[in-house]
């Protein structure tokens, strides 16, 4: 940690870090020393500025010198605690989780300043989804816009990106669900306008739904891309990724290498793209043993932890419920989600019951 940070007020430390992180977001660097140095300062700032995180650090006697050993905050704690370093303001943006547990409490992240988010998102998206080609494509989004889901971080991201990268965007999911007629028009027009490739942005569930219901589609123009995000958590019906890829090729004529996975979540500012998932420069993954929390080496499957430099005003060190393994380059392959605790009957539904009162 910078010794200067110790003598500065929290506001000064935050301003200083924000400036440096904005530079990082504008010119992402893969220099590990730069990342490690910033991570240490961010951790120290968060331990001071977010009292509940400070308590965790203190209880565990954690050394904040290395982000790889920073205390991880399970994502479900975003349902319990306002993990934000800044006082509540009417200008805060609040992102909420999708609430996949029926009747469950939704997690939330209060973001007082979206500048890091906005600045950082475009370049990795162009690289990870568009293969580095910034040519403006027509977008067809099965992800609702943030006029429909105002508290969805994914909707916010897609809308923000579409404004600066897309030639035109068709939003074909509205409040009442998938608009099949509009999907038909959007995808049909895409075919009709000189065979220009399109970008389809979708969650796995929405895509499975579309493929199930819409049997009339023509093939998409050659070179079209599908950005695929999310899994099937909380849904009874599931389809494997392999099945989804096969159907995509059969129905849309989009080969598997043109399907670009995205990994992000409400609790994070940064994303990862590709297969395996390559984190953007501001994000690092770590894998821990579910029972002991010990770090696992590349190749071993465990719980996915994230360190997101850009989560300056929230916590950066986060433990997901996803299972995955890293390769030697720190890229992630997901292996589903951690099964819930052993069924304990009444305990499981207690929260749901309370909420129904």
């Amino acid at each position: 940690m910078s010794s200067e940070d110790d003598s500065m007020t929290l506001a000064e430390v935050r301003a200083d870090l924000h400036r440096e992180l904005m530079n990082f977001a504008r010119r992402p660097s893969r220099d590990p020393e730069l990342f490690d140095g910033l991570a240490e300062r961010v951790l120290h700032y968060q331990a001071r500025a977010i009292p509940s995180y400070g308590r965790l650090v203190e209880m565990l006697g954690a050394d904040l010198g290395d982000w790889r050993e920073a205390p991880l905050v399970p994502t479900e704690l975003f349902r319990e605690i306002d993990l934000c370093s800044q006082p509540v303001s009417e200008h805060d943006k609040i992102f909420r989780t999708s609430g996949t547990t029926p009747g469950g409490k939704r997690g939330f992240r209060r973001v007082p300043d979206l500048s890091l988010y906005r600045t950082a998102m475009s370049t990795p998206f162009i690289e990870g989804v568009l293969g580095g080609d910034p040519t403006r494509l027509r977008w067809i989004s099965l992800i609702p816009g943030d006029n429909v889901l105002s508290d969805s971080s994914l909707s916010f991201m897609v809308r923000e990106l579409s404004e600066v990268i897309a030639a035109e965007t068709y939003w074909i999911v509205e409040k009442d669900g998938l608009r099949l007629d509009e999907a038909r028009i959007a995808l049909g027009e895409g075919h009709g306008l000189g065979n220009e490739p399109v970008l389809v942005l979708t969650t796995a569930f929405a895509l499975a739904d579309l493929l199930e219901r819409a049997r009339w589609f023509q093939r998409l123009p050659r070179g079209s891309i599908v950005m695929l995000t999310g899994g099937f958590k909380g849904r009874r019906e599931t389809i494997s990724e392999a099945e989804l890829l096969t159907k995509l090729e059969q129905v849309f004529n989009v080969p598997p290498d043109h399907v670009r996975p995205e990994y992000g979540m409400t609790e994070l500012t940064s994303q990862a793209y590709g297969r395996p998932l390559a984190p953007m420069a501001s994000l690092k993954f770590r894998i821990v043993h579910p029972e002991t929390g010990a770090a696992l080496p590349p190749g071993e499957v465990g719980l996915v932890g994230c360190f997101d430099l850009l989560n300056l005003d929230n916590v950066s060190s986060i433990l997901t419920s996803d299972l995955g393994a890293l390769d030697e380059q720190g890229r992630l392959t997901l292996h589903g989600r951690m099964a819930g605790a052993v069924p304990r009957g009444c305990s499981l539904s207690a929260e749901e019951i309370l909420r129904q009162q």
Binding site: E58, T292, L319, A341, R344, S347, I353
Partner: protein, 354 residues
């Protein structure tokens, strides 16, 4: 004619021995499974059954069910066993739909008493549910509210219907509970590995934070002894839950106590919080409003002799610490009489519409 002790209970020790392997297969240690099964069989006596029988309305024999469909929940076998035995006490045949993973328990019961007939069907198979319900005079459902609602809708008004949805239980201790109360509570926590509706998920302690902590330390000490006698079989699930809940405790300003396989955490807020895993209990400052808020879903409250909570609900079972997971045969679960709830409706035309 009165209800009679089912033949299965003529040799309680044998019944426990026969059920033990299938119960252990559900994930309990042999010691925990044995203790739980013995507690259930010990609650049965001829005199208690006669007493219950005497409380039935005159002429009840005409409404005695010939067949009872018992739909079991996926927690522990004790509640299912009790419902089967109650039905047999009335002389009814039992159609038993076991939950996934419980099938072996049903097979053992059938081997001892052929009148208990395992009747499997898929939970989402509506036609199978309807045809099975048609064979019964009374349907007993142990399970989620969703399951109860779905099966109630399928049950005609001329059949009996007894629903036992999910509930939670808690304990309330004074600032300086007796050693017997602390030891009893420790037994309640480890019984059936804290599964089921009768296990304490939170313990409210009267007094200031020092008292809460002191009770936590004494409970920890008691658990260290009891755990040797009643070990946790599935340590993995406990450890996984612990990894995720430790940060929560720290970040909410709580304190960690407990043993290697029982997690006790104090928290400053009194509001009820579900237990996050097997053998994990919250110690909270006593607060009447927190207890009031829980009342609609509270099954059992263990109350130490030195404490004084006031309860508005007569349907909540009050007991001493140590008795939470040992309900007497006379217990009116969800306010229902154990035997009367199995009878066919007196006037079906007045029964609530399905």
């Amino acid at each position: 004619m009165s209800a009679t002790l089912p033949t299965l209970l003529r040799d309680k020790a044998r019944l426990v021995e026969d059920l033990l392997p299938a119960t252990v297969a559900q994930g309990f240690s042999p010691e925990v499974a044995r203790a739980g099964l013995e507690a259930e069989t010990e609650s049965w006596s001829e005199s208690a059954l006669v007493g219950l029988s005497d409380e039935l309305p005159t002429g009840w024999q005409a409404r005695a069910p010939r067949a009872v469909l018992v739909i079991a929940a996926r927690t522990l076998p004790a509640s299912m066993l009790r419902q089967c035995l109650l039905a047999r006490a009335l002389g009814a045949r039992v159609l038993l739909k076991c939950a996934a993973g419980q099938e072996a328990v049903g097979e053992v019961l059938h081997a001892i008493d052929p009148a208990i007939e395992p009747t499997p069907f898929a939970s989402d198979d509506r036609a199978a549910a309807q045809s099975t319900i048609a064979l019964a005079d009374t349907v007993v459902v142990l399970g989620s509210d969703e399951t109860v609602r779905a099966l109630r809708a399928e049950t005609p008004a001329d059949k009996g219907f007894a629903a036992h949805g999910h509930k939670v239980s808690a304990a309330w201790l004074g600032p300086a509970p007796s050693d017997a109360d602390v030891t009893g509570l420790a037994r309640d926590v480890v019984a059936w590995d804290q599964a089921g509706c009768l296990a304490p998920q939170v313990v409210w302690v009267e007094g200031d934070p020092t008292h809460v902590r002191q009770v936590g330390e004494r409970l920890t000490k008691a658990l260290q002894t009891i755990e040797r006698e009643l070990p946790l079989a599935d340590v993995s699930a406990h450890r996984v839950a612990r990894q995720r809940v430790v940060p929560l405790v720290a970040m909410l300003g709580g304190e960690l106590l407990g043993t290697q396989t029982t997690f006790i955490a104090t928290l400053p807020e009194a509001a009820f919080r579900p237990s996050p895993g097997p053998r994990m209990v919250w110690l909270l400052p006593a607060d009447a409003s927190a207890l009031d808020a829980l009342m609609p879903i509270l099954s059992t409250l263990a109350v130490a002799r030195s404490s004084t909570p006031t309860l508005a609900s007569p349907s909540v079972r009050l007991c001493a610490p140590g008795e939470m997971q040992r309900p007497p045969l006379t217990w009116r679960q969800d306010g229902l009489h154990p035997l009367a709830s199995l009878l066919r409706p007196d006037r079906p035309e007045l029964a609530s519409a399905p």
